[in-house]
Every structure is written in structure tokens, then in C-alpha cells.
């Protein structure tokens, strides 16, 4: 490994800058930090720019195997001193390993499943990075064919979000920055039913809907819910019944309930 000894090094400055969305957007790069996430990116053949590793981390057996994989893929790795690494790390307990990755470039059509079994999750202006990451992880667990992230949603490439996906970000197509008209046209063209969570009188309990047809399930903003424009175009409106005295559910909880109803109905 080449060694980077100065915090003025361009690569160090780049990594530090990628904590900010504007730099992630400008460079079209983001960071996967920690051995587990970094492994998941490599296993998924995710396009990788370079890696950083501390001397201590490089002594770890699991990290050594990982570094060999990187070498086989011709992804350069640089050794950095502990103190510099810790300064640019985005985690509270730095593991001493990170990868700089290229933003995904999935096209909208990548979220479709070939067998007519599309099960698409649409995130409409969700704002909490941890929620978005947890929901991507759950969507992966139920076998969603892809995820569409609408304009004005939390950045899926934020460190906290990437970590909360536990690697699921690398497992299924995730398309970002989609506008309302583009989404509606796309779903109509592919005959995909739009299900949106709503609280109005037309909404049905989630378990009375048919998830076995091609569906796109929209989850809305934590406070405001699904945008009126998308609700208006929804083929079916759905709600999650509550039996107790809770006033609401966490949006990641709501996502788990709805996505697993899809798995339950599709389970063979």
C-alpha cells in the first residue's frame, strides 16, 4: 500500500469533503465506511474509486482478505495514519477502513422485475437519514425489485443512511431524483399499480390490498405524508390500522408492515 502522510493530501481532502451533500453531488462520489459495508460494496461489484486503511486495521485478518479482493479488482488502497483517519471518519468508533464509491447510475427501468412481479418501493420526500437507510434494508429483505427515491428526499448517499442500509444499498437498484410526472408516466407505461398510504375515507387496511400484481408502494414524508399529486394518481389508498392508543407509527415501522405484507402475499 502507498502511504498518505499528510492531511493536505488531495485524497484526504476529498474524503473529508464527501461528508457534505454538495460535494457528494458535485463529485458523484460517496463513502462506505467500516469493513462490513466495504465488503458488501465489493461483493456487489460496485464501482470503486479508491480505499483508505489504517495500519492497525490492516493487521486484522478480515481486513487483509478484503484488501486482497480490492487488489484483484485493481482498486487502489492507501494507508493513512490513525490520527488523520480519525479526523475524516464519519463514525463514532472508526474501524479504519473506508471506500470511496461512485454514485449509482441505475435507470428507472432497472427497478422492474422481468417476471412481471415488480415490487417497487417509492420514497416520497422522506427526510430522516436513518429512516431511509433502515427502509432500504427492509426493502431488500422482502425482495423488492427496486427503489425509487423522489426529488427532495434525504440523500441516500449520506454516511448515516449508507450505514443504516447495512449494505442493502448495494443489493438492489435504487434510482434517485425522480419527478412526479416522470414516475406517473413510467408506472402507467408498465402497468404497475400505485399504492399510497393515506388517511382519508377511501383508504383500505393494508392487508385487503392485492400485492401479488406488479405494485409500486409509496411512503410519504414523516410529517406531511404522501404528496397530494401522487395521492391523487394512486390506484389504491392504504392505511395501517391502529388498535391501541398510539397516535402514529414511525415511518420505518410503517414501511416494515407494508413491505412484509407484500412478502407474505407473495410467499411460496
Amino acid at each position: 500500500m502507498d502511504v498518505i502522510a499528510s492531511s493536505a493530501n488531495k485524497k484526504i481532502k476529498l474524503v473529508a469533503s464527501l461528508k457534505q451533500k454538495k460535494h457528494r453531488d458535485a463529485e458523484r462520489l460517496f463513502i462506505a465506511e467500516g469493513i462490513r459495508l466495504a465488503e458488501a460494496a465489493v461483493e456487489a461489484n460496485w464501482p470503486c474509486r479508491f480505499g483508505l486503511c489504517t495500519g492497525t486495521a490492516a493487521k486484522n485478518e478480515r481486513v487483509q482478505m478484503f484488501l486482497q479482493q480490492l487488489e484483484a479488482r485493481q482498486c487502489p488502497v492507501y494507508e493513512v495514519p490513525e490520527d488523520i483517519y480519525n479526523k475524516i471518519s464519519d463514525t463514532q468508533q472508526p474501524q479504519g477502513v473506508l471506500l470511496v464509491l461512485e454514485n449509482g447510475s441505475s435507470s428507472l427501468s432497472s427497478v422492474i422485475s422481468g417476471a412481471g412481479a415488480s415490487f417497487i418501493l417509492v420514497l416520497d420526500q422522506l427526510q430522516d437519514p436513518g429512516n431511509v437507510g433502515t427502509i432500504i434494508r427492509t426493502a431488500d429483505a422482502v425482495g423488492c425489485s427496486g427503489i425509487i427515491v423522489m426529488e427532495n428526499s434525504a440523500d441516500i448517499y449520506a454516511g448515516k443512511t449508507v450505514r443504516a442500509t447495512m449494505g442493502s444499498l448495494f443489493h438492489l437498484p435504487v434510482v434517485t431524483g425522480i419527478g412526479q410526472e416522470e414516475l406517473i408516466d413510467f408506472l402507467a407505461q408498465h402497468k404497475i399499480s400505485l399504492l399510497a398510504t393515506a388517511l382519508d375515507a377511501q383508504a383500505q387496511p393494508y392487508f385487503s390490498l392485492d400485492f401479488t400484481v406488479p405494485v409500486a408502494l409509496v411512503l410519504g414524508n414523516e410529517g406531511a405524508g404522501v404528496s397530494p399529486e401522487l395521492l391523487d394518481k394512486a390506484d389504491q389508498k392504504v392505511f395501517i390500522p391502529m388498535a391501541g392508543r398510539s397516535e402514529s407509527l414511525n415511518v420505518a415501522t410503517a414501511a416494515a408492515v407494508l413491505l412484509y405484507e407484500g412478502l407474505r402475499q407473495r410467499y411460496k
Copy 2:
């Protein structure tokens, strides 16, 4: 309102000390911070020792109504200067209102539903305060009859946990510090079926179980799962199928899926 002007005041010192579990245990007191949580405690008639409020917060209309409710319940409230309040606050954006509450004293039998429809959640050595709070909120949403928290679990009275329940802690009986034998005997005596999450060959998908009988659903520790002793005594072992490439689910996600299957089967 009486005014507390010094941070050396006993009540201020008490509130500051309640951030630590040892003091919460010794005093059998905990804190509900923020207007929404404080309101939920009062609405539930939760035993209240006293309240603290800043001058700024007391100008808010919602807070004023709340202070009137406290007065009607003869719960004393003290005004504290902003700087003192902010020092003892456990939140990043202090709202200037908190209540000192007495620990719950529900007996084990309080978690049973009279109509033979008991739906009990058992938390077995969960450690993450946020997860525990979110799970209590979901258990409330599905109408659980009560929650049993086993020995060696995260303290339900930690500030982060109380806040994550969003007030649900005050909505249903929560019993803490229960031992394995005590639990097993209790469930046997009341003919309540013990369902435990497991990964072994005997486990069935969660949706093939019968949640319409009296059940106690056990969720295990984030890393180690349900204790072997409880697994051994389980009437049925259950797993959550995964269709994608995720390796695991967040425990609060798993809780949502299992608890909502209970609601779905019981929904009329």
C-alpha cells in the same frame, strides 16, 4: 410557580442525577421531557412528583394549558432559568418542560387481557434504548395487552427510550425485571402460548402461526437472539422469511412485522 434560582437546589440535582440508571433505580423515579411526552403522562394519570418549566416555555399556550392540568392534579411545578434547565436537559433541543415521574409498578398479571385475548410482548435482554422505545410504541399501536421486560434488558426509563415510545410507555402495562422461571410459570398458569423468534429447523414463517389465541411473543437480544432457556420452553418457534440479500433485520423492524401479524389476524 415557585422559582428555583440555583443549580445547587435539591430538585435540580435530583433531575440531573436521573440521567443515570443507578439513580433512577435508587429513587424509583424517571423523567418525561418535552411537552408531548409530559402531556401523555398526565393524560394517563401517571404518578407525578413535580415538574420544571422555563419562563420562555411557560409563555407557550399549549404549555399553559398543560400547567393548568398539573395544578388541577396538585403536581407542583417550579420555574427554572433557561441556563440551568439546558444544563440538566437530556435532549439536544430542550423544550423547557419536564416531569419527574414515579417508576411504574404494574404487577405481572396486569399484562393479561380480561377477555382471554391476551397479546403480550416479551423483551428478552434487548440492549438498544431507541429500539426498545420504538418497539413499545409499535406494541401500543397493535393493541398489545401488556409488555414484559426480562432481567438484563435496557432500562425502559432511560431518557432516550422514554422519548422513543412517544408516550406509549404510559398507555399499556409494562412490567420489568422478570426472571425466566417466573415468566414460564406465569404463562403456563394462564395458558398463554409462548412464541419465540428462532432460526432453527423447527421454526415456521410468522404468518403460519395462530395469533388469535392468547399469546406471548418473545423478541431476543440484538446480537444473541432469544435466550436458550426461553427458546427451549417455547410452544412455537417463528422466523421472518427474507427474500432478498439482506442478512438480517433491525430488531424494531422484526417487532413491527410480528406484532402487525397479530393485529392482522385479530382485526375485525
